[in-house]
Structures are given as C-alpha cells and as structure tokens.
C-alpha cells in the first residue's frame, strides 16, 4: 500500500531542504497573483473546517476562568491520565522508531523471498479500522488467547496496540531516506577499517536522524490522541487522556458550552503537551539536519 505523509511534512518547515528529497526547487512564482487567491481560499477552507472548532475549544477551555482551566487538568484523574498517556506515548514512540528503523533497514538492504509482499503489508494498519485492530489483539493476546498469553487489562497490550497503529509511520519515514542513501561513504569507511557498529553510528545514523525523529514525532502525536485502538482495551486503572476526555464529554453536567469546560480544558492541556514535544523533536531534527 502507500506510505504515510513523507518525512518532511512535520520535521522540516517549508523551504528547508530535507535529506530525503533531492530538491530541484525552482521557486518560481508561477502562480503569481493566483497564489494570493489560492492562499486565501485554502485559508478559508482550513479556517472553517479546522481553525473555527479549535478556537471554540480554546475559548470554552478558558471561558470559565483561569482557576477552572487549571483544575480541569490538574485534578487527580486528569493528571493521572496525562502522566500515563505521556509515558506510554513516549515509550511506544521510542520503541517504535528503533524497531521501525530496523525493519526499514531490513526491507531496504536485505533480500529474501517474500520481501515485496512484506513491504506492502507494512501499510496494513492504515487500511484496518483501529477498533478492529484492538479487537484482534485482545482476542490474540488477551484472556482466552490461543497462544496462551494474557496481557489484557495491562499497559502492555495498550502499548502493543499503539505500536501496531504507528508501525507505518516509523517504517515509512525512514525507508525513503535509506533508499536514497549513498553507500559509497559507508564502503569507504569499511575499507578504512571501521567496524559495522562505528559505521552505523557515525555515518548512517546521522543521515537518518531527521527522518527517524520525524517518524517518532508523528508516532508520538498519534499515540497521544489515539482512541479507536484503545477503547476496547482500557481497564479501570489505565486511563488514557482520550478516554478520559470522552468520558468527560459523555458526563458533562449543566447546560451550555461551559458544561464542557472540564473536557475542553483537559483537551487543551493535552494539545499543548503534544505540540511542545513535537516542536522539540522538530527542532532537534532540523538542527541535526544542517
């Protein structure tokens, strides 16, 4: 199937050439005046579909006063949810990017029968509805499992579900870069006596780092907000932010938009955390890309 958004969509701001794409950009103002109109139309569409709802969210989150906003994400349940979500997202993003890089390496540099099919299968988590994925994981590795493992009601099965869902991000962000990588430098290093490990650490990894970080950023963002693949898996003691927000929405008391203030407040907090981490990863990626 097809790759996720390419490596430079989150990591590299526009105009910064990203390592994966040899750029022959002639930034001609081919569009001229139409560019302004195009920008206007795009912005209008984006505003109505995306910005307007986000503005409402922020407005309601803050609209009941700063004290209410503060307590909406510092109350016991919310804090616990944010902690657990952050922790599990970080772990999954980290493991996912290590394994994703490994899988990408094997897919690019290795040859074995069935490799092409395996390569196509990587994108399956995109085609599969997330809720079905969690259903399968529960059936396969939960109580009554045909292989005798029972990790239902544990953080492990939630992590496995998130690893499943973010697999394409982790692999596909690294793969194109690996493909384009010039192996001459590696061969030169080898002929000079460098070990595999040293070559990998000093030559390959730095070249891959922006792509890996961008994939990690995407995975992390996805994990922070994921709902479909964990809605069937969550137990009483594992509360992830998206589930808590959902419960808050379903149990909102009072009338008017302010009834949703607790849910909106927690949502904004979650968003801010996700953006901060993303920005950090992006900066790390573009710094090392220079």
């Amino acid at each position: 199937m097809s790759p996720p958004p390419p490596a430079d969509s989150v990591a590299a701001p526009l105009g910064v050439p990203s390592p994966g794409r040899p750029s022959r950009v002639r930034s001609g103002s081919r569009l001229g005046g139409a560019g302004g109109l195009g920008l206007g139309l795009s912005t209008l569409y984006l505003s109505v579909i995306v910005l307007l709802p986000v503005a409402a969210l922020i407005s309601v989150a803050l609209g009941s006063g700063l004290h209410a906003f503060w307590s909406s994400f510092t109350n016991t349940t919310a804090l616990k949810a944010l902690e657990q979500t952050l922790a599990i997202s970080a772990i999954v993003a980290a493991i996912g990017s290590v394994m994703g890089t490994l899988v990408a390496w094997v897919l690019v540099r290795d040859q074995f029968p069935g490799k092409r099919i395996l390569n196509a299968v990587i994108d399956l988590p995109f085609a599969l509805p997330t809720i079905v994925a969690s259903l399968a994981l529960l059936g396969l590795y939960g109580t009554g499992s045909p292989v005798g493992i029972d990790i239902a009601l544990t953080k492990t099965i939630v992590a496995v579900a998130l690893l499943f869902v973010t697999l394409p991000f982790a692999v596909r962000s690294v793969q194109p870069v690996l493909l384009e990588l010039d192996q001459d430098v590696e061969e030169a290093a080898a002929s000079l006596g460098a070990s595999n490990a040293m070559t990998f650490r000093r030559i390959v990894l730095p070249a891959l780092r922006p792509a890996i970080l961008s994939g990690t950023a995407l995975s992390f963002a996805r994990c922070m907000g994921e709902y479909g693949s964990i809605v069937l898996l969550a137990a009483a003691k594992i509360q992830l932010a998206s589930l808590v927000i959902f419960a808050d929405v379903e149990s909102a008391t009072g009338s008017g938009n302010s009834a949703y203030q607790p849910a909106a407040g927690l949502s904004v907090a979650l968003l801010v955390i996700a953006l901060v981490v993303l920005f950090g990863l992006r900066k790390w990626g573009s710094d090392s890309g220079n």
Partner: protein
C-alpha cells in the same frame, strides 16, 4: 505498492470488488435492524417506507433486544400500525445528556429516574411524568451477580465480592445507570445485614478500589468485558443476565440473598412531533399484553396482575427499593455528585474518571 499486478489477476480483483458493490446495491433498501436471524419475524424492521410516524426511542444500554421484540409486537397491534422505530441504546447517563444536548427523541427509557428528571429541567419532559398508575416505571429488575460456569470462585453473596483475589466488573457510575444500581444494591445490602452507613461505605471503598478490575462505560460494555474473559464476577441487571444466557453467552447467574429492586422509568418527550403516538406507545407498554412480553424477555412486570401471574418465572429474594435508601434525589446528591459525593471520592481514589464538574 511496488508489486505490479498482472492484468488478468487485476481484472479478477476488480470484478470481485464490483460484484460486492453490486450485491450491496441490490440489497440497498437498508434499515435499522441488526438481526441476522429473523426470530422476531420482521422483514428488517426499518419502518421507514410509508409509515405514519417514526418514533425515536432513546434507551439505556441493555434492553435493546427486548425492545426489538416488543416494538415489532406493537407494530402488529391496531394502535401501532404504521409506527416505525429508530432506536439508540447506550449508557443511561450519557444518553440522557445527549438528549438534553439535542439528540432527537420521542420516547426515553432510562435506567434511573434522575436521568429523566434531567430532561424535566431541560424542558423536554413534563414535570408530571411520574404521575401515572405505575409512577412512570415501565418494568422492574434487580441486581444479580454473573459468574463463570461452575462458579469457580464460589460467589454466593455480597461479602464474597470483597474477598482478596476476587475480581469484580461493574460499569462506571459517571455514565452508566446500571453502575449506580449496582453500587446502591451493594450499599443497601450491607445496611440490611446490620452494618452502619460508614461501614457500608467502607465496603464500597474496598469493592471499587481493591476488587474492581475494570469499569466500562455502560452495562452492555461491562457484560462484554466479562464475557471476553475479564474478571470473576460481573454485577448486572437480572434482565441482561437472562438475555445473555439466552443468547448463548457462557455464564451462570448467582442471586444474592438481598438486592435492590431496579425500577426503570420511561417518559415521553413533550416536544415530540408525534406526541399522541408516543403517548399511546408508552401506555401500551404498561398494558397486560406488553407486560407479559416483558416477562418473557426477562423483565419483572410492574403491573401487579401480570407480576402475580409470572411470579414463578423470577427467583424470590429480599428486594429493597431506592426509596428505602432515601430516594434517587438524595442518593444522587450524597453519593454521585461532584465534588463531595462519597462514591465520587472513592472513584477518584480508584483512578476512574468521574463526572468532572
């Protein structure tokens, strides 16, 4: 994808895809019934072609199958001819808030009375909704314990639930009416055993903080969690337990010696565009015919004559009412209202999301 598909194979796949689409187009009438076996004898129950009125029935999570049967029966009566149903079943509290937030509804059948009074406050239900012959109640049930076949953990009553190592499943009281009934059943049973209110509260704390392993959003979610292998004992409506057993779930029902009488209310939305039809439908649900159907579906009838006639279908146990515990208004205030409700505080300690206002 980098595997070029050969043309013949490609054509075959496309043909398959088109065949699938064509078959579905042919069957395209659609509808709302999800029954794969036509036990209720209807042809799909969509009721959308040529009906006089479609009633939006918004209900709590567990009575879906029962309403499916009973609604089909109503459609066959002279009064119900030309009536179709659009139904939505989910956690009672969530459904009630959704209707208050604008979800279309003509008849609401919730788990607890406060879920109806919320709509009175929202101006959607008449304040005299509970003035009828059955005080607004459509049927009864009770809280039972569902265990694995053979009852391996030897659960016989409420005290067994807080034994170390016993894993309990019950829904989340923030969204589920079933959860509130379960909690009040446990609390009331402790009082009946002679415990003081604070001892009964301590029981609840142990139950929810130590023994409960998962608290899904609704009664039917909780049943599914239990059936898929989580926990040793599930607290649920007797009616849901009976239905699950009938549907083939491998469970065993344990009746404690005392439990709460679950009285599930029903009301008409006064702004309904089919007010007369909605009222006629609700009136019919309280008729002897309908009440007998409820009994067959596992719900204890609320009409005294039918209750007496079907008494043998339901095990006898000591049933106390929510009124003996102070009534729903007081109970909701003391137990389930943030920030000081006693159950709210227990759930927060247990790390379960509560109504957060």
């Amino acid at each position: 994808m980098n595997t070029r598909l050969d043309h013949p194979r490609l054509r075959a796949v496309i043909a398959l895809g088109l065949a699938v689409v064509a078959a579905l187009v042919v069957a395209a009438c659609g509808g709302s019934s999800d029954a794969t076996t036509n036990t209720s004898g209807s042809s799909g129950g969509s009721g959308s072609s040529g009906s006089k009125a479609t009633l939006n029935l918004v209900g709590y999570s567990t009575p879906e199958k029962a309403y499916d049967v009973i609604d089909r029966a109503y459609e066959a009566t002279p009064g119900g001819k030309g009536i179709g149903f659009k139904t939505s079943f989910a956690a009672s509290g969530a459904q009630s808030r959704a209707v208050a937030a604008g979800q279309p509804a003509d008849v609401v059948a919730f788990s607890t009375a406060p879920d109806i009074t919320r709509l009175v406050q929202a101006g959607l239900v008449a304040s005299n909704w509970a003035d009828g012959p059955t005080n607004g109640i459509v049927n009864d049930s009770t809280v039972v314990m569902i265990v694995r076949p053979g009852n391996p953990k030897h659960i016989t009553g409420w005290d067994d639930l807080i034994k170390p190592g016993v894993k309990v499943v019950t829904p989340n009281p923030a969204t589920s009416g079933s959860a509130r009934w379960n909690i009040m059943a446990a609390y009331g049973a402790e009082l009946k055993e002679g415990k003081t209110p604070s001892q009964a509260l301590a029981y609840l704390a142990t139950l929810l903080e130590k023994n409960t392993v998962t608290q899904p959003d609704s009664g039917s979610d909780a049943l599914q969690a239990f059936v898929s292998g989580q926990g040793d004992v599930l607290l649920d409506y007797e009616s849901d337990a009976i239905a699950a057993k009938k549907a083939g779930d491998k469970i065993q029902i344990v009746y404690p010696s005392s439990s709460i009488l679950i009285q599930t209310p029903i009301a008409v939305i006064k702004k309904s565009s089919h007010l007369a039809q909605a009222q006629a439908y609700v009136k019919w649900l309280l008729s002897p015919t309908a009440q007998k159907l409820w009994a067959q579906q596992g719900y204890r009838p609320v009409l005294p004559s039918v209750a007496k006639a079907t008494a043998s279908m339901f095990p006898k146990l000591n049933l106390f009412t929510i009124d003996s515990l102070g009534g729903w208004t007081k109970v909701t205030n003391d137990f389930f209202t943030a920030p000081n409700g006693s159950v709210i505080k227990i759930e927060e300690k247990a790390g379960v999301p509560t109504s957060s206002s």
